[in-house]
Amino acid sequence: DAGVTQSPTHLIKTRGQHVTLRCSPISGHKSVSWYQQVLGQGPQFIFQYYEKEERGRGNFPDRFSARQFPNYSSELNVNALLLGDSALYLCASSGDWISPLHFGNGTRLTVT
């Protein structure tokens, strides 16, 4: 079975631009979460969606938004990029909101 897939794997953007990151969960998983991992730090929670509803939001500015589609795939959008947004963005899925998370290998975003 395919694991969690994220695209693109790497991305370079300029300050002020907008970016969209995509995630396909494991087949049958209805929950998708997004995490930001800055180099040398642990992943920080951004959003969780379950059955297309937002279940949780971390301490991130409104420039960050996400949505989940009817097929349970998800997008993370970041507007007005800052240098500090450079990070590994991880998507994780689970079968429900209480099961352990399955992570993708992330999208490495570099903002110049």
Binding site: G42, P43, S94, P100, L101, N105
Partner: protein, 111 residues
């Protein structure tokens, strides 16, 4: 969920030795999870221990939980080069909402 603090920050051992890393947290929990992250890749779930459990095993992994001390430990026995990774704990509530990770323990296995 709350953030766990992993200790030590870094650990280097010879292949074949045992590795122990610890996690402390501040408030009561329903469960605690351990994850592994190989360099530049996603996290992999290792084990979940519930608050009413004191010890749990999975292959070469042994996790303990002491709720009175608000701490957990992860023991990897007979370490292998492939165990080289960062290890994170995630103290949690009922579910996987808002898992909060610390900076992890970076384990290096020396061949």
């Amino acid at each position: 969920s709350q953030q766990g603090e992993e200790d030590p920050q870094a650990l280097s051992i010879q292949e074949g030795e045992n590795a122990t890393m610890n996690c402390s947290y501040k408030t009561s929990i329903n469960n605690l999870q351990w994850y592994r992250q190989n360099s530049g890749r996603g996290l992999v779930h290792l084990i979940l221990i519930r608050s009413n459990e004191r010890e749990k095993h999975s292959g070469r992994l042994r996790v303990t939980l002491d709720t009175s001390k608000k701490s957990s430990s992860l023991l990897i026995t007979a370490s292998r080069a492939a165990d080289t990774a960062s290890y994170f704990c995630a103290p949690g509530g009922f579910g996987n909402e808002k898992l909060t990770f610390g900076t992890g323990t970076r384990l290096t296995i020396i061949p």
